[in-house]
Symmetry: C2
Subunit: 342 residues, 2 copies
DNA sequence: GCACCAAATATAAACGTTTAACTTTTGTTG
DNA sequence: CAACAAAAGTTAAACGTTTATATTTGGTGC
């Protein structure tokens, strides 16, 4: 038995395929009785719209491209794990819509640029979602130039306004530093993402401002930029703890680097709460299982990711990008007092 | 300027669109000189195949559906994080092919069943990849019934032969138990996945066999089944450590539950290596950053995931499922001696 | 009962590709 | 060089939609 098409329904009802097509998409051009008749027939024969026909005719793909920059297979490091939740959040947000998530895994920034160029020029998708934005991001420029709908996870700094979702890194760092300063910390380390990423810049800037506000000196030796793996967090602690005047607090940009920092503590024989403390930003609510549990700013990742999905839908419907910008303030979860006990 | 089609090339070369079409897909029906001519013209005008036309004409979708069962947004637990790497591995394997990964995030088993039914009956994809297989998996049955190409991550137990990729859980558990027994452990706990999952059964069975082989008694109190979150790992330790005769070793099914087990140790004041030890299976190579680092069976997730991608390609080309089965033995990484020091 | 208009429906073409069936060209053979 | 076969190329239809344009239907006012 063949899969039913609008032709089937046309024959079934004795109407033309044009009328059926219009009726099925609720056009006011066909009167309600006819529409009901058609819907009934569609139901009866088990009709489902064939997207290929629509796509060919309209040029729309009904795909949202999610560009996922994942570390190469050779690199066995715990990185980018939050992508799973990010993707599922987006997928859910699109659930009721005709759109699907098409995954484009790329190895690095250049590849993502090339992929996006492809998608835009050959219209392989109707919208794009990217993350890991840079201060000045050429991918954003490409899409803006062609007026292609997109949403970024993460802001940019020197690009024209566009749709984005991000955590409020500025506030987070300011409050983190202020809180630690209040608790007597004078040497606060910043374990930051790769320096070219927009949020690394935001965090760094906020860090300096906050230090000043608390009357603390800035020491470049207490700031590190790198891929947010456990290896990096560990390395930071090993290096900084060896300083003549080592930090008493580490602000880690994610849970992976925080875990690595713990590993560094273990290696150096440092005790959390006695020698130094670790604070972090947490997407996955995993810091509560660290030993000991640490203070974090927690932003459940499903929140921004669902927003990304909703934003791209609205953007594809033509809503202006300025209306689609969200900065979410993560919630402070104090699992430690974070005053040193010595 | 319009996007070039085969029609453009036909005009450009003075040939018919049929010849162009054949030439571009390397049909032997067109002679090499003509083919070269056409290729050159295609290159010149920047031609790219429009998939929508192909899809409509052939009925093929060039999509591989990846079904991802992710925990609901309300549940803030660290679960399913390895999916990110799984997906990117699959995506890479498909890179050179015309196929793309279409993501279907579902909330639970029933939804995945329904989604698969949809995909199969309305041919929304050409192939499906699922994970979290059950001992007897109705999803597998649906696809087999319709002779729909698919590969599972994880074996099944009571289903007809099909394409799969899995870690060799049987061997892993046997060797784990034997190794711990050799090191003097008599009370070995098994922190196992949900009981209806195929690999939970495999592991449990192997566990019992291995206990017997080592002359150890089986105690149901030392086995727990549940969602492999840190919460679960923690809960297991809290419960089992309170037993009259508590375990001296915990075999955790993944790194998340192992992390949770550590959290349980911390809570109970247990010291790793003195009171008990934790062993685990690790996909993400994160256990090396635990404090202390633990002994694991390590299977870098990109390995099975790329295999999944390659297998689904071959399966869609008609290769029989029996030829597409892989059981991979993870590598033992001994980071601890695992003998108790007391 | 007629002209007119709006509303409802029908016709036909188009999107880009593949492919069965047909025609033309080229090469081989006796 | 005729006869034919094989090779190379062409024609035309089809896949399932949407939509501009055309046609039919029914209702209104006079």
């Amino acid at each position: 038995m063949q899969r039913p098409t609008i032709k089937t329904i046309a024959q079934e009802t004795g109407l033309s395929i044009a009328t059926v097509s219009k009726a099925l998409k609720g056009s006011p051009q066909v009167r309600p009785e006819t529409r009901a008749l058609i819907s009934a027939a569609a139901e009866r024969v088990g009709y489902q719209l064939n997207m290929h026909g629509v796509q060919l005719r309209t040029g729309k793909t009904y795909q949202v491209a999610a560009i996922m920059t994942a570390p190469g297979p050779k690199q066995n490091e715990w990185e980018g794990v939050e992508y799973a939740q990010l993707l599922s959040g987006i997928s859910w947000a699109l659930d009721e819509s005709p759109y699907r998530v098409a995954l484009y895994a790329v190895r690095n920034f250049e590849e993502s640029l090339e992929t996006i160029r492809q998608i835009v020029t050959f219209r392989k998708a109707d919208g794009i979602i990217i993350s890991g934005t840079r201060g000045h991001d050429p991918r954003v420029e490409i899409m803006q130039e062609k007026d292609f709908p997109f949403v970024t996870y993460g802001t940019t700094i020197r690009n024209a306004p566009h749709a984005y979702v991000d955590a409020d890194n500025e506030q987070m760092i300011r409050r983190s530093v202020a809180r630690l300063a209040t608790r007597g910390h004078r040497r606060i380390a910043l374990v930051n993402p790769m320096g070219d990423l927009a949020y690394a810049m935001t965090r760094f800037h906020a860090y300096r401002v906050a230090l000043q506000a608390s009357g603390l000196d800035f020491d470049p030796a207490l700031v590190a930029h790198g891929a947010l793996t456990p290896a990096f967090g560990r390395e930071c602690v090993l290096t900084m703890a060896a300083l003549a005047d080592p930090p008493t607090a580490y602000i880690c940009a994610n849970e992976a680097s925080a875990l690595g920092a713990f590993s560094g503590f273990h290696e150096k024989g440092l005790v959390h709460g006695r020698d130094a403390v670790i604070n972090a930003t947490d997407d996955l609510n995993v810091s509560q299982y660290f030993s000991p549990p640490i203070t974090t700013y927690f932003l459940p990742i499903h929140q921004p990711s669902e927003l990304l999905g909703r934003f791209i839908l609205r953007r594809m419907e033509g809503e202006p990008p300025e209306a689609l910008q969200a900065l979410i303030m993560p919630e402070l979860i104090e699992r430690c007092d974070d005053r040193l006990t010595r």
